[in-house]
């Protein structure tokens, strides 16, 4: 589904990502783990089209999308649950979800999706007329995921979705990611919580200062003593 070749990302002179290559197949749940500042978010931002690729190519379902804008990529079926959630704080819950379904022209389909998201996250339904910024951290994360699901993108990019949540919600978020994948969504998950991420992913990549140090089946990475020492707390 997604094929990334020699992707390099720069901010001015600073090279954040040094030519990484990876693939995400249909239906896979892939994780990129690594420390803060390793370049994980830069990769996702470039995949979504927030950040231009300095070098390399991004191909989605055989079509090169390296130079498309974010809204063009959204139309081709990429959705993002970004770092920091990025909700529209002054809009209410329902308006945030409607923005998630911005590309849907058919009103009844929009309503159907809305009901599906409310069914998955009942707490959002009870807060539908509340401003997004007044929700708790966990509820905001549910809304951010729900907003992404509104557009029903086949490929979902998730950036640090468990960051800053209470342990109860961390469990919940990982459960939902796994569930979405089992329902057929292809997911690329960027995480600092390596243990949890590897426990639900099929395959993983370990990013260190802009390069992949290790890659492979999630179980292999979990069993790798070096990965264990550096990322899994021994």
């Amino acid at each position: 589904m997604l094929d990334v070749r020699n992707l390099e990302v720069r901010y001015g002179e600073f090279r954040a990502v040094h030519g990484v290559s990876f693939t995400v197949e249909d239906g896979e749940l892939i994780t990129i783990i690594g420390a803060n500042g390793a370049g994980k978010t830069s990769i996702l931002r470039t995949l979504m089209g927030f950040q231009p690729a300095y070098r390399g190519t991004i191909t989605l379902n055989g079509k090169e999308i390296t130079h498309l804008s974010a809204h063009e990529r959204a139309k081709l079926g990429i959705g993002i649950a970004p770092e920091g959630r990025r909700l529209f704080g002054d809009m209410d819950v329902q308006e945030n979800l409607e923005m998630g379904g911005y590309l849907i022209q058919d009103k009844s389909l929009l309503k159907q999706r809305l009901e599906a998201v409310y069914a998955r996250f009942p707490v959002l339904k009870s807060r539908r007329n509340q401003r997004a910024k007044t929700l708790s951290g966990g509820e905001q994360q549910m809304l951010a995921i729900g907003r992404t699901l509104m557009g029903d993108p086949p490929l979902v990019l998730m950036d640090e979705v468990s960051l800053g949540l209470m342990p109860k919600y961390v469990q919940e978020v990982f459960r939902i990611i796994k569930e979405l994948n089992e329902e057929g969504k292809t997911i690329l998950l960027v995480e600092q919580n390596a243990k949890k991420a590897l426990s639900i992913a099929h395959r993983g990549y370990v990013l260190e200062t802009g390069r992949f140090r290790w890659e492979g089946e999630a179980q292999q990475l979990k069993d790798n003593p070096e990965v264990q020492r550096a990322y899994l707390g021994g």
Binding site: M48, G49, F50, S69, A70, H71, R73, A74, K75, G79, I80, P82, R86, F88, G89, D90, M91, E95, E98, M99, G100, Y102, L103, R147, G151
Partner: protein, 285 residues
């Protein structure tokens, strides 16, 4: 006396609101201070006057002024600001001041440096409410302002495009990722902003029976005071700020013997509010 001051204050406030709303909307989507907005306002007054002299129909003059001002706004975004968005904020600000001066000079060259009368004969008699009276031009100002504010409110809260506009002003990148063609939405916000300024230009022209090249000078900085007071980028805050400034001006002039020009008062009110609410009335950190 009190009632009359209030009516006068609301009249001035209405005009300020129409001008400052555009400034706040542009700030919301692009985070730049669009000083040339006051030039668009003066342009609206000239267009209104010109059309009114061709066809003495105020409604038509207003529509033409709004539409052409809106188009001018789109051209300004497209050909001036668009290329500067990745530069420091000071670059579009200076370009905007430059454009504003150029526009004023263009009005002077085309229409002459003198004040032109925008005389409209109203058949409507003033309404008398106790000791206060609402003149026909005031009714026009209120009527147009109410209609435009309701329309704006409807667009930004009820339509898909309007919601996208709010989303872009809250987080442009995220709106883009959800499929919003943000560049089109920015052009839309320039069109709406500039059309509101054009309407304000016509109202002021008619209300004071005068149109002149530098009529945008005072609104240029007063609108800044208003949007800072209201909380940069906040539409309800700007409306509140505009009426607060309009009413405080009339009251301070009417009741207190302030040894300052009227136009300095906006800044005194702004400073007073910012001491207690540093992000403005409805602004956020």
């Amino acid at each position: 006396m009190l009632g009359q001051q209030l009516i006068n204050g609301f009249t001035i406030g209405s005009i300020y609101a129409l001008i400052a709303l555009g400034l706040t909307m542009v700030y919301g989507v692009l985070k730049i201070l669009h000083i040339a907005h006051a030039g668009v306002y003066a342009m609206g007054a000239y267009i209104g006057l010109w059309v009114y002299r061709l066809v003495p129909n105020l409604f038509l003059a207003m529509l033409a002024a709004m539409f052409l001002s809106g188009v001018a706004g789109i051209l300004i975004e497209r050909f001036l600001y668009k290329s500067m968005l990745d530069k420091s904020r000071i670059v579009p600000l200076i370009a905007s001041i430059g454009l504003f001066i150029a526009m004023e000079e263009t009005f002077r060259i085309i229409a002459g440096p003198y004040v032109k009368a925008f005389s409209v004969h109203f058949r409507q008699k003033p309404w008398i409410l106790g000791s206060a009276r609402i003149s026909a031009p005031q009714m026009l100002v209120f009527g147009v302002t109410i209609v435009l504010l309701v329309l704006l409110w409807w667009v930004i809260t009820r339509t898909r495009m309007g919601k996208a506009l709010r989303a872009v002003s809250m987080d442009r990148e995220m709106a883009d990722a959800l499929g919003v063609a943000t560049e089109k939405i920015i052009l839309l916000s320039f069109f709406i902003s500039s059309a509101l300024a054009g309407a304000a230009g016509v109202l002021v022209g008619v209300f004071y029976n005068s149109v002149y090249p530098t009529m945008g000078d005072i609104p240029a900085y007063k609108a800044l005071a208003i949007i800072v007071l209201g909380g940069m980028g906040s539409i309800p805050g700007t409306i509140l700020g505009a009426f607060l400034i309009g009413i405080s001006e009339t009251f301070l002039i009417g009741y207190v013997n302030v040894p300052l020009p009227r136009d300095a008062l906006a800044f005194i009110v702004m400073i007073a509010v910012l001491m207690f609410r540093p992000y403005g009335l409805l602004g956020k950190e």
